[in-house]
Symmetry: C3
């Protein structure tokens, strides 16, 4: 257990062994899971430290800011300069790297990786195992199914990072791949397993390798309605 003297932890529950580093601020009603680390400093700072332990990290960490009534599950690592809104939940063993913003009510699933310099809106659902690299921009009320892989370099390993943008209300299917630089428009849907190599227009549904438009969101919603009815 390492709790920084600089950290604000009023009304916070600690499940078990936890490290909170630097001037981290965690809101009331938030729970920090066992074996988690909050406010972990970036490597650029750590590498010059003569001793690498929680006390030394604490001196250089700028801390993370986590809202109230959040639930950060066990084995999660959140880097410094992450800002998380109220009511956010993470699954187990999540990684959220530096300079990331996550809006209120968003869920980041088990084993998901948010690899730094990412903006995520409100009430987004990021399911298990999804990978979100630096420079990604995700709107609000987006749904990312399990094991979506987003990329940020069209010609790896180049010296240019070019992020993916996902606009509000889009739905991204399981284990699909979004290629560097594309935009998934507002309300668009990407089918499971698709490889998306071009922009997806708003409210269109794409499918396949490479992904092509197969219907409108309106038709998708009709099919979804029928599917939901069949289940009653």
């Amino acid at each position: 257990m390492f709790l920084s003297k600089k950290a604000i932890l009023d009304g916070v529950s600690l499940e078990g062994d936890v490290a909170v580093l630097g001037p981290s601020s965690v809101g009331r009603g938030t729970t920090l899971g066992a074996y988690s680390v909050i406010g972990y400093p970036i490597y650029g700072k750590i590498k010059s430290l003569s001793k690498k332990d929680m006390s030394s990290y604490d001196e250089v960490s700028e801390g993370a800011k986590i809202g109230s009534n959040c639930f950060i599950r066990s084995h999660t690592v959140i880097y410094e300069r992450v800002v998380i809104g109220d009511g956010v939940q993470t699954g187990h063993a999540v990684l959220i790297r530096e300079d990331t913003e996550i809006g209120e009510g968003t869920v980041v699933g088990t084993h998901a990786i948010v690899d730094g310099r990412v903006t995520i809106g409100r009430e987004v659902s990021i399911q298990s195992g999804t990978y979100i690299p630096p420079e990604s921009r995700i709107g609000s009320r987006v749904f990312l199914a399990p094991f979506v892989v987003i990329t940020n370099d069209k010609y790896p390993a180049s010296n240019r990072l070019l992020g993916v943008t996902i606009e509000d209300g889009a739905v991204i299917g399981a284990n699909s791949i979004l290629i560097s630089g594309i935009t998934v428009g507002e309300g668009a849907v990407v089918a499971s397993g698709a490889v998306v190599t071009r922009d997806v227009p708003p409210n269109k549904v794409v499918l396949g390798v490479p992904a092509k438009v197969v219907m409108d969101r309106e038709e998708y919603e009709r099919k979804k309605g029928d599917y939901e009815m069949d289940g009653r």
Copy 2:
């Protein structure tokens, strides 16, 4: 270390720091890995607790039941109301959520996620990184290669979950995707990278995006035999 007074842990080995919550029962000869949590309560119970720590969780957890001679590796989280048969092994950092049943001799690989309300038979091999969502039904002697992704909603994010069924003896290839609602028949084979959008008849082999039948299991077994011979 937190060991519930309600837990039955006779003849159990603890690798290192472990939490065992509620009336969990773990069989003789079983090992619990370091940094693991057993009997973790569902969120519906946790959210109403005034304090969120292992002691409070212990009061509300219904515990997990783990058989004898199991090996639960480090950083694993097993929720309450999970029932695991004798001789089961998990890899490292596995998540098994509530109301899941796992039969004797099954292996759940490193980083695999069994996301609750799942039934898995005996002697199943679930390789690393595989994702199994709620409502999945997996028979016995099934082989799931690494990073298989199973889904449970045909039109995400709908209000209806519709599980995948995998019958006895089926083989599911690496990084393939099984779409919500399908059944993979007894002894069927799904090739690596396939996206399975329809039922796979028993003893058929499917391949591609979307997956199509390419041969019978019998032919697959002949090819497998030749491949094995070539290796001698």
Copy 3:
């Protein structure tokens, strides 16, 4: 915290709670992350132990060898008989199993799994979530994007393992699948989402399901140059 009396740990930093087992040797300037385990023994040895805890493991472990100035991040497990060169970094929650060699300056990303009996060269970049099974051979200066899945059995579950070989300077795209037995030639490129079922000749670029040659590395480098220029 468990530090073997047999281990050599001069000039090593320990971030937090760590276990180091057997005659492990860790070089000066190396950091071991919190909640990590180094020198974990193979199951074949553990299963015959009457008690399974760090002290008993310590007696049977042959230790791991980690070079100097490495950075092993939190929640990582490294098995015995792993040999890691100087300046290697791992992300969080990495698994590196037994009899693996990793060359100097290589990076193994968060949640990556190196599943034992693997050889990896120098200055390789293995991104997050990538899966590398036993018998894989990876050259130097290779780039593996996030969530690459490599397989080692052409007809699972057979009794023959047949590894993939990736030669020097190859680039493997995100969430692609490399099928058992293939060789990716020197300087070849595999596009994101490809399923590679045959050998890829040196300096060729392949794409699709199944993957086919679409251009030379030379053309790829021209496109990469243009892409980099566009970003300025």
